[in-house]
């Protein structure tokens, strides 16, 4: 009986909520996160230091801010590979503004508006012209970063106002950073948006079947456009944090970050083909990636080797459940 249910993807409601929670992807991920945490705390004496752990959060807070918006976009069946380039462009715009003596409030407004504009640009091509998002955002990925290069060349902008450093270097209380606070606030906002509102239901519906969603009265193109605006906006927020933390802007800033964001989203249990996923999953995935990076860093593993782990993690988390079901079904037949 259960075989047929599994084949037809009928959600299994025979078990209690508690049982389903325990068997869920998020729980598995949480177990992995805890395991990594425990292993790390034995592997290095420096791991369980509050300040070190606080520094480690920088590994994922900025990426996670974008990952939440990206999760919604991927659930809706689209993707945005231009997020890192939006960071570069927003950061460049803010750097340009500082040369003309802009203060912190203006910089924040500029960063957010550039993010929104870039998101609108992507959204226009994808929803109004109806082009595939993967190609459009590969194009805008080159375009946005290209504009940063045109403005900056191989130079760098520095000299941000002192108050601007609060976003990336400030602390709220003891070891809790401003970025961590932003991360929590944004996670809650997106969690509510995706899981508790009509908009969130629409996102799932579009990802599962855009045609059916359209026929049931969901404004598919409008929702998608808003989602592109959101990834743009969150890239703007991340740009503010990252620029503030580094204190300088180069056109090569955040290179390759789009892949880490997508990895984070997929690791969080979001189906890359759309239709399923959750924000808590992405939150745990952010912690997993942060802990792996931090733990390996303490063991003096170079960053590039960490990328092997991230890559294996990305493929592994998708492959293992499928291998599991393959072997399970072999055993029964």
């Amino acid at each position: 009986m259960t075989d047929i249910a599994a084949q037809r993807h009928i959600p299994d409601r025979l078990h209690s909520r508690a049982y389903r929670t325990v068997r869920s992807w998020e729980s598995l991920l949480l177990a992995v996160a805890i395991a990594i945490f425990v292993v790390n705390s034995f592997a290095s004496p420096y791991f369980l230091n509050a300040w070190n752990l606080s520094d480690a959060t920088f590994n994922f807070t900025e990426k996670a801010m974008i990952a939440f918006a990206m999760a919604l976009l991927i659930i809706a069946g689209e993707i945005d590979l231009s997020v890192a380039s939006i960071i570069a462009l927003a950061s460049t715009a803010m750097g340009l503004a500082t040369q003309y003596g802009a203060g912190t409030p203006e910089l924040v407004i500029i960063g957010l508006s550039v993010g929104l504009l870039c998101g609108a640009f992507n959204g226009f091509f994808v929803t109004i012209l109806g082009l595939p998002s993967i190609v459009v955002t590969i194009g805008t990925m080159s375009l946005f970063r290209g504009i940063s290069f045109i403005i900056l060349g191989d130079d760098a902008f520095r000299g941000y106002p002192a108050s601007f450093s609060w976003f990336g270097q400030g602390y709220i209380y003891w070891v809790f950073t401003v970025e961590m606070l932003l991360f929590v606030i944004i996670a809650v906002i997106y969690g509510v948006l995706l899981h508790k509102t009509n908009f969130g239901r629409a996102v799932y519906a579009i990802g599962n079947n855009p045609t059916a969603a359209l026929f049931s009265g969901i404004r598919v193109q409008r929702v998608k456009f808003i989602l592109f605006l959101l990834t743009g906006l969150m890239s703007g927020v991340a740009a503010i944090c990252l620029t503030s933390r580094l204190g300088s802007t180069r056109p090569s800033i955040a290179t390759g970050m789009e892949l880490e964001v997508v990895t984070m989203v997929v690791l969080g249990g979001v189906n890359i083909l759309g239709g399923s996923g959750s924000i808590p999953g992405v939150v745990i995935a952010a912690f997993v990636m942060g802990l792996v990076t931090f733990g390996l860093g303490l063991l003096n593993v170079p960053g590039i080797v960490m990328s092997i782990f991230i890559g294996l993690l990305l493929i592994g988390v998708i492959a293992l459940p499928r291998l599991w079901t393959m072997f399970a079904s072999h055993g029964k037949s």
């Binding site: 590969i138 194009g139 191989d154």
Partner: protein, 326 residues
Amino acid sequence: MSRFIPVRETILAAAIAVLLILIASRFSGFVAPSNLVNVFNDTAPLIILALGQMVVILTRCIDLSVAANLALTGMAVAMINVAFPGLPIPFIIAIAICLGGAMGAINGLLVWKLPIPPIVVTLGTMTIFRGIIFLISDGKWVNAHEMSEGFTGFPRAAVLGLPILSWCAVLTVIIFAVMMSRTPLGRSIFAVGGNPHAAVYTGIDVGKTQFKAFVISGALAGLTGYLWVARYAVAYVDIAGGFELEVVAACVIGGISIAGGIGSVGGAVLGALFLGVVKNALPVVNISPFWQLAISGSAILIAVAFNAQSGRKKGRLILKDAEATR
């Protein structure tokens, strides 16, 4: 009519011609045969990789690991060359093609047997391959003076006025032109991308065809890995960084539909040449090379918008009113 005169390729060829005329009007030396040979030679790796990528995109997949595959194979053959300088070059090339093909096969197996979406697989293998380069080389560079004469000399050796690197691209183009139009594999690649369900009913194994496409793409990346490292006479972790996007860009500009099933060998070659001409022309017309990224990005957007307009199917206008009034 369009059977004999492919519209898209003609427009692209015309665009390249206009570009060349514009450049020539400011700097006539650019269109001198010797310089055009240089431009073609410089674009040769991109042409080879774009053809491999074309096959993958035609089967509704995407391979983002080509540049990492190129870099890893390049590093491997460079280290083999340092360890055994006496190995003949054909043997080195065979190793490069097999290594690249094996990496392509890893991608292909994951896509075929597990079904994991290709974009996820190749994102993952891209970072893994880059990491492995660091592991095998320990982060060190292999420099020109460590490589043997034959190893670095081979792609640069001129035959009939063209370097062997260019001949490799020409040969690849010819092989692909024959393969795509005259072999069952070429036909099944188009069939799988055009309509996978129909392909299954005609007895084509979709997953297996995608697997073969990945192996082809990987093998070409391997070959390019050797050519690249030998030509620039250096191997390190970050060679060809970001090149995978340029390869995808060449395909998109060449009119290969990311939705699969639509595209041509000529298109991929012209797309690569377009990017190559732009790249080589910028310093000539006194535009900073920093413009290159923005130009190729714009070219992708224009090309994909244009292709979507020309390839739009007439029909199913049921929801047009509903769409328009929103």
